[in-house]
Each structure stands twice: as structure tokens, then as C-alpha cells.
């Protein structure tokens, strides 16, 4: 959800941009990271883990934990928390990691 009236900060510009998430067109604000653009659209699960197939999303927001990987315009494993959203970007969740070692499945 977008914070329209921030208790302290002035309102952002209203520059909206469009992007696609798994094929669905969505809106974001200019200057947001991909992670924020997704969370603004109530998407918090960005992918599933490789081995145990557990849900993953934003954790550290500082490019360190690598939990927020998404696929951007076909490029896999992009850190969504440090990459800015751009007009027309095609974002896909990171659900396609090969389950090369097997494991218990959970979603």
C-alpha cells in the first residue's frame, strides 16, 4: 500500500510508471525499488527457495541477504531491493530455480 500522506515527509511527485509482474500490468512510483513497487501492490512473496521450496521476500533491503531475487526482463537473480523500477519492466518472481537437490516442498 502506498503512503499518500506521510506524517513527516512532503508528498512525493505523482510520477507513475507502469510495469508488468508475471504478465499483469501494475503501477509504481518513479524512484522506487522493484521490491517496493511490488510491495506497494501487495506482493510480498517474491520467490521460493531452492531446496525446501519456501517463500521468500524482502528481508534486509540493503542488497546483502539475497532473499529478494526476481527476474527482470529475462535476467535472473536480480536484487529487487537495490534495483530501481523502470517504465515497462517485466518482472517475474524467482520461482524457477532448479530444485537440483530435491527436498520437501512447501509454498
Amino acid at each position: 500500500m502506498y503512503i499518500d500522506h506521510h506524517p513527516i515527509l512532503e508528498n512525493h511527485g505523482n510520477d507513475q510508471i507502469s510495469f508488468f509482474y508475471d504478465g499483469t500490468p501494475l503501477k509504481a512510483r518513479q524512484g522506487q525499488t522493484i521490491a517496493a513497487a511490488l510491495m506497494m501492490n501487495n506482493i510480498r512473496k517474491f520467490g521460493i527457495s531452492r531446496k525446501l521450496r519456501q517463500s521468500r521476500g524482502l528481508f534486509c533491503a540493503n542488497g546483502r541477504c539475497c532473499s529478494c531475487f526476481v527476474t527482470v526482463n529475462g535476467l535472473e537473480h536480480v536484487l529487487s531491493c537495490t534495483t530501481l523500477i523502470e517504465e515497462g519492466m517485466e518482472i517475474k518472481p524467482n520461482t524457477g530455480d532448479p530444485d537440483v537437490r530435491g527436498g520437501i516442498h512447501e509454498n
Binding site: 531452492r50 535476467l75 535472473e76 537473480h77 530455480d97 532448479p98 537440483v100 537437490r101
Partner: protein, 362 residues
């Protein structure tokens, strides 16, 4: 831990742990393995872990490698799954002039039963479509493969432990004294000497230092190899490629470097960048893969390139096993060294590999 053993093995890498395991199968001797660090903290934990045969020359060295590779399936039945994969090995070349060299290799290896093929570019690309079309050709053999070195060492140790072998880690050997029918070994963590009838030196690149404790000059060099590793990728490389392979977990390990810098285990941007460039020359599509980490290992290169195996001349009941390609050779070296210690003779003649060959030069 008591202080008296029949056999002490110094070094718990892939060679030391394999010898320990194979000796323990006789279930006759009290065996202790000592390591200055923790298993896998040295060379055996920092390797691409090829089980590589086909371009080991001359042919007698190729033959030794072949026998060892053939033991892996049997070894797995005894110690467990070490993720041995006989993937077949491709060694690409970029210049047509290398083709003659490749054909000579085929002839030489054929004499000992190693089947090597020379592939054209199209044949290479058919086997491994991800390889660069700039490749001129490759040598190929279905004997090559790879193994998980972490599982390998861990399972050698576990199997040996089941046979009551004892282990002492983080315990460097500081002094060795040869008395008339036994050795006294002094270590950092133990006040009293450990006594043993026989001692086996399996210190890998540290063999030089360990040898000095017995007054020996072991002719080996330390050669650093740096390896870079990608994030796990969907399986796309079926074969072990000269310089790179895809591990079972999807990571691609890439390494081509050789530097003589002693025991310095650092990695450097210089070599990492060169290795990355080389990787792209081989497999252009890797350009988009994330590199997650690098590591380096200090490899052992005996001065003439070949393993040093067997009894140590002029030292009673002392043995040595030091070689490059310890991963490839570990099942066979373990078997042969155990035979040598227990039975006094080996099923494959090790004369050629004796430390004596260096002493004759002197």
C-alpha cells in the same frame, strides 16, 4: 587417545583419509590420523574434484589414473554416495594445429586401453551445445568424471571411524624421532610423544615440511589454483570440461590458473578476471550468470609431475604418498598403500613412483 599405535598417518586430506580407510579394512592395526587443521581446510577442500584420466601422459600415468577412476563405483558401495559421476570429459582446443597433438594422444593412450576420441567442432557442439562455436575441436573420453570432494573425505573418515581408526585434528606435528623399531611423534596438543611402528606421510603440499622432520627433502612445489563459482544454474553441462564443470547442485566451477606463490591462499582480482574471460571463451552464455564466490587451493606438484608413492628409502617403516590429482587417484593410492603396508607388496608395481628416483639424480 592412548599413545601407542601401529600406524600413524600424517595428513587427513583425500589421500591420508583414503589410506586410513583402506588400511582399516584389514581390521588388524591400531591407526591414528593426525592433521594440523580440520578436514577439508586444505587442498582436498579446494579442488574442482575432477576424476580425470584421458590426457594424463605418458600412458603409464594415464593407466594409473584409469585404474583409480574405475574403482570409484566400488568405493561408493563401501563408503557411501560420494556423488561420483562418470560424465565423460571434453578438453577443447581452439587452434587446428592442436589437432595433431590430439591425434598423437589418442595413439599413445590406446596402448594402455584408454579410449580417447578427437572430436570435430560439430561433434563437440553436439555433445555440449553450450560450448562456443569458436572451439576448433576437442579430445574426449567417456572415462572422465567428477566427484564431490567434501563428501569423499567425510565418508572416508566416517568409514575409517567405524573401523576404529582414531583422528586428531588441529594438532600439527612438530617433531619426529626415529628410534630403532619405532617412531616418536611430538604434536602441538600433546605433551607426551605418540609412538608408532610405522608412519605414513600424506601431507599434500605440506609434505615438504613434514619430510624435513625426518631429514628428507621431498621434491614438491606448491602451486596455487584459483577457482570461481557461479550461482546454481539449471543443469546444462553434461560433461566435465577441461577447466570447468557443473556440480550436482548446479554451480559451475571454473578454474584454469597456476601460480607458484607458496602457501598463500588468497584470491586476486587479476586471476579472477582472467578466469572469467576464459570461461566466456568456452561458454559464451555464462556471461549472464552471477559469480557468487571464488576460492583457491594450494596444489601439490612433485618436481617431475608424477606421484611420489611407496616406502621412503633408508627410513625403516616410513612411507610417503604425495601427488597432484589426489582426488582422481585416492581410491587406488589408498588400496595400494594399504597393500604395501600390510602385505609388503602391491598389485601394481610402484617402483616407478618411488622417492628414490629423485635421490638418484642427486
Amino acid at each position: 587417545m592412548t599413545d601407542q599405535y601401529d600406524i600413524v598417518i600424517i595428513g587427513c586430506g583425500v589421500i591420508g583419509s583414503s589410506i586410513a580407510y583402506h588400511l582399516s579394512e584389514y581390521k588388524q592395526k591400531r591407526i591414528l590420523v593426525i592433521d594440523k587443521g580440520f578436514p577439508l581446510s586444505g587442498t582436498s577442500g579446494s579442488t574442482q574434484a575432477w576424476v580425470w584420466v584421458h590426457n594424463k601422459v605418458p600412458k603409464w600415468y594415464g593407466e594409473l589414473s584409469m585404474y583409480s577412476a574405475e574403482l570409484y563405483p566400488f568405493l561408493e558401495r563401501k563408503i557411501g554416495d560420494v556423488e561420483y559421476k562418470r560424465t565423460g570429459g571434453i578438453a577443447p582446443f581452439f587452434a587446428q594445429t592442436d589437432r595433431d597433438k590430439a591425434l598423437r594422444l589418442v595413439e599413445e593412450q590406446a596402448e594402455v586401453g584408454i579410449k580417447v576420441e578427437v572430436l570435430t567442432r560439430d561433434q563437440v557442439l553436439e555433445k555440449e551445445p553450450a560450448l562456443s562455436p569458436k572451439i576448433a575441436g576437442a579430445t574426449y573420453s567417456d572415462m572422465d568424471g567428477n566427484v564431490n570432494p567434501f563428501r569423499l573425505v567425510e565418508l572416508y573418515i566416517k568409514a575409517a571411524k567405524r573401523n576404529e581408526v582414531e583422528f586428531s585434528f588441529y594438532n600439527p606435528v612438530i617433531e619426529m624421532v626415529m628410534e630403532k623399531d619405532h617412531y616418536k611423534i611430538y604434536t602441538k596438543n600433546k605433551k607426551d610423544a605418540i609412538t608408532t611402528e610405522r608412519v605414513i606421510l600424506a601431507g599434500g603440499p605440506w609434505s615438504k615440511e613434514i619430510g624435513e622432520l625426518l631429514g628428507l627433502d621431498i621434491p614438491i612445489k606448491q602451486v596455487r589454483g584459483q577457482v570461481i563459482i557461479t550461482e546454481p544454474l539449471a543443469p546444462f553441462l553434461k560433461h566435465t570440461i577441461g577447466g570447468m564443470r557443473q556440480a550436482e547442485n548446479g554451480e559451475v566451477l571454473i578454474g584454469f590458473s597456476k601460480e607458484e606463490v607458496g602457501y598463500d591462499r588468497r584470491t586476486t582480482m587479476d586471476v579472477i578476471q582472467e578466469t572469467a574471460q576464459m570461461a566466456i571463451n568456452y561458454i559464451p552464455s555464462l556471461a549472464k550468470a552471477n559469480i557468487v564466490r571464488s576460492f583457491s587451493g594450494v596444489r601439490v606438484i612433485p618436481e617431475d609431475g608424477f606421484p611420489i608413492l611407496g616406502k621412503i628409502p633408508d627410513k625403516k617403516n616410513a612411507y610417503i604418498a604425495a601427488m597432484h590429482s589426489g582426488v582422481t587417484l585416492s581410491p587406488l593410492v589408498g588400496t595400494l598403500m594399504a597393500e604395501l603396508v600390510m602385505e609388503g607388496e602391491t598389485s601394481i608395481c610402484l617402483e616407478r613412483y618411488s622417492l628414490k628416483r629423485f635421490m638418484n639424480y642427486a
